[in-house]
Symmetry: D4
């Protein structure tokens, strides 16, 4: 699979996964949360299983959409000048549909449905103000069912980590 | 370095990095954004440089705090039942100090300073309602300078991706 | 009548009851507010009337929808992980109709029409986040006339009592 | 125990009960949720246990603060003209303390700590506007740590039920 | 003209009156602002004009809708238990039309168009909560163009005076 | 008593009047609500009592602060260019004190304590923007206990009437 | 070209100008930001270029819509009694269209599209309250796509300057 | 006077100017509103007065702070990437003091005191997000008396004109 192929496939969480995550899976995940490139041999030694088992389980977790091993950067440092959280209120009966349409957009890297005074929180990464404005007007607010948006422009990213472990 | 050592070191972005990110750095980052475990040999072949160069630059990007290669999961699927974005208004003159204190907390994986009707947006991952309440009352709101919090409990995570590329 | 039959019959208050509640009725109610299982003989002795009178009046109050004698629990302790108050704004001309449709739903145990910045406050008891989300999107917001909802997830129930007496 | 003794003891939920509620307990609770005065003999027959067992377990559930069997009425029909939900924002570091002080007040029958744009929701039952005003100004807002209150006066109670079952 | 005739004719301000109010008119108005029943002979003596002139000008001011001499009371003391200010947001293009329709309603004694976060503020005087609810749902919100209402129930009227003088 | 004397005495409602208003009082009030200058002889004839009785009762109602007979005008037509409703949030424990201090100010003609998202609504009549600003900054917000004000400038007064009758 | 011709041509910014502004252009602009009437000969001497060059470049900047040299006044001092910022929320998909229609209106001197809790901020200069109301109702809110407006009446203009320099 | 001298002198409006602006002054202003560089000889010819009179009156208007003739640009086109309106709520008794301190800051080009849900609206012109953040935290919110700020980042400036004429 090429780089482009994978880029085009956004990872969208399947709701209500009933699949089990085993204790071994969780131990592997914890290793990768700390260092995504830790060699499988090293993880295998640490957990007392074979390298093949670690590799197979890791691949299976990725295929099931439970894990992704990725390079994460601060977009504000790589030429993206405007990054924003956008809070959305939807027409009453279209919340999930709207969330799924937004999740299809490559400009959006994060979509959650929330309780509280907004229906959705999404994050977008843009080159500059004009790109953000075009995203807002030509893309996001063109979706039927988006009723109101409030944009929180990021002034500084202070922390971004992924080491929450498992339970 | 042990797993525990690294876990204890939250990655906090340094404001206003003046260091340059080269074009080659950016190409490497793009590969890792798509697949954090892509072998360096493969990246090297694709970019027409040596495997040692890719390895060295990747390590340098990680050391400089520009890149992290990590396993990312949906916490709601790994035994954490309550995940929330918390919007914060600070006492006028304490915004940056408050943000930095919150960034030190292991329960918090994301801290941004925003323009708009809130000062800060932070994300927390908790086991259940009681854990979220204790975090809110015993930890977050115990920080001097936190004036008001509004909690957005996540009902479903719909998308979480990191492939925004570079500019 | 079976348990199931009664469960299926939500108690909906009739607006503007013109029926009188006598002083004796009120004394009986006060006893039952304190202890719903107090024996009628004991109440009768205390109030100086016959046990048959207490029983008849109690039954009549229940039939008239003025009193219910019930076991009340904290849902958060009985396996329901998400309980929430939901504040609702309705389309201008549909407030009462919406309130009545919501009152028909078994997931909802409390519906009041309020003055202030919301039109309705309702309480719902759900097993978990996904159940709350499905209630919100597939049930509540599917009602025509529900314009906007704001969900207040309960983090802890601190007090729940019913001993307000009578006037 | 006299009526007055019990009235004076508000039922305040203990946070994080670790005590178990057995399956038999749950079946008894479900019976009492439907009809608080159902004879223990009838419940015992239905569940295939002795009447003494039902009585003992019911008493134990009440003593543990998990169950209350009570007469519940619509206050608006018993001479209380003003009933209100009051939403509260607290000083950041005093949320739980404030909640517990409010729970001690006999005018208040319901206190929950919530996620969202308010910290607490409480319900109060008053005779009229002046009583509500005095409660607000002389009692509630006299508590140190109450920063802001918003009052939602009830115009009509549409539904009030307690039959949510168990899980 | 009978009492009933006049009651039925609400006084609605004509927008942009271009008619002049003379200095003598203003002096008479100031007398009546202080005491609406002050005898015309006394006002005439004070201002050095004839009693007929005072009477004629007063009547003319009343006919022109610039002055009303009325008995004003605190409704909360005369059997009206619920009085409320209602803030209204209208559909964008219907503000004036909505204001005029509301002004025709006898339950409403005050209508102003305002700058700020609401479009209209109106005051209503009701017998009790049910009457207020019926006014809100069957009358006010039945008007096409009323989009959102927020009701401020009066807990106490502290001051009501009309002696602002003239300029 | 001179004009100036009376002007200086703002009418402040006494809370919780326990005095009775008789049926005859109410009939007289209704006459004066329609026309504040209706001759007592005419009212007396209509009600079948003596003119002296009407006069005495009217004076008594005025002395008791239950009734005022006054000339009411639209300030916007008499040279006052800025009239505003000001919504106020007070420090939690100072609501009534603040209300009473504001009621003492001659620039303020209306003060009510409200349930809802504000604590107080007051009305002020000013000559122009600068006068309104000076009132806000030098007078109103100089009162200790006033925490937040929101000003609704009147663009047009559409209705102002006082004929709500009695109950 | 006559005064009237130019007045009728509002200056509307072209989005995303790709034209370059040279360093010399910027130096000229900085002179004119300080004093719009500074003689070209003086600017030319200061910058070491010919007067013709300064004149030509200034005219070109004006033609390109990058610079305007204008007399700016405080409207509140020149007979305009009401000046206001109006915050607007638009129907989701009509933001840019609405902004452009508003920009065509001569009553409006300032239109910006903003991130945050409103979509647009516009400034208007009116003679009095009635003119402001007519602008709001007959002009602004008559535009399809304007959903909600909030008006901030100016009480005093404290600073208005244009000397921000260039970068 | 040098460029730097003038730059250092922000134009702060004096409140409540009682000075008169003559009809001739207004005609001159209208010419300069259209074209700030229109030659005085041309204005003089148009108005039928001497060139010296136009020059003297223009200078006098500038000295009195009623007029400024300036080059106005769209900062977003001259290298300033972040421009924002900031809405401010002040501690109750410090509104005017805060406004005046902000007006002293060179980063701020516009300060108005407003009626409505905010106390002040100010405009700032910044190079980028970090500069905006530093302005907010190190400058603006360091002023005692600034209680709350809400920042509206400009995504596009659509109109900016100064031709409102005179009355």
């Amino acid at each position: 699979m090429t780089l482009e192929d994978r880029s085009a496939r956004p990872r969208i969480a399947t709701p209500r996964s009933t699949e089990e995550v085993s204790e071994l899976d969780k131990r592997i995940i914890e290793h990768l949360q700390t260092d995504g490139r830790r060699p499988f041999t090293q993880i295998a030694a640490d957990l007392g299983v074979s390298e093949a088992a670690v590799r197979a389980r890791t691949n299976r977790l990725i295929e099931r959409g439970i894990l992704q091993v990725v390079g994460v950067t601060d977009p504000l440092k790589l030429g993206f000048q405007q990054m924003a959280m956008i809070a959305i209120r939807c027409e009453s009966d279209q919340l999930v549909t709207v969330a799924e349409q937004i999740a299809e957009m490559p400009e959006v890297d994060y979509v959650v449905i929330t309780a509280g005074s907004y229906d959705l929180l999404i994050e977008t990464v843009c080159e500059d103000n004009e790109a953000l404005l075009r995203f807002l007007t030509e893309r996001l607010r063109a979706i039927a069912g988006v009723r109101e948006t409030e944009t929180f422009v990021y002034l500084r990213m202070v922390k971004q980590t992924y080491q929450w472990g498992t339970r």
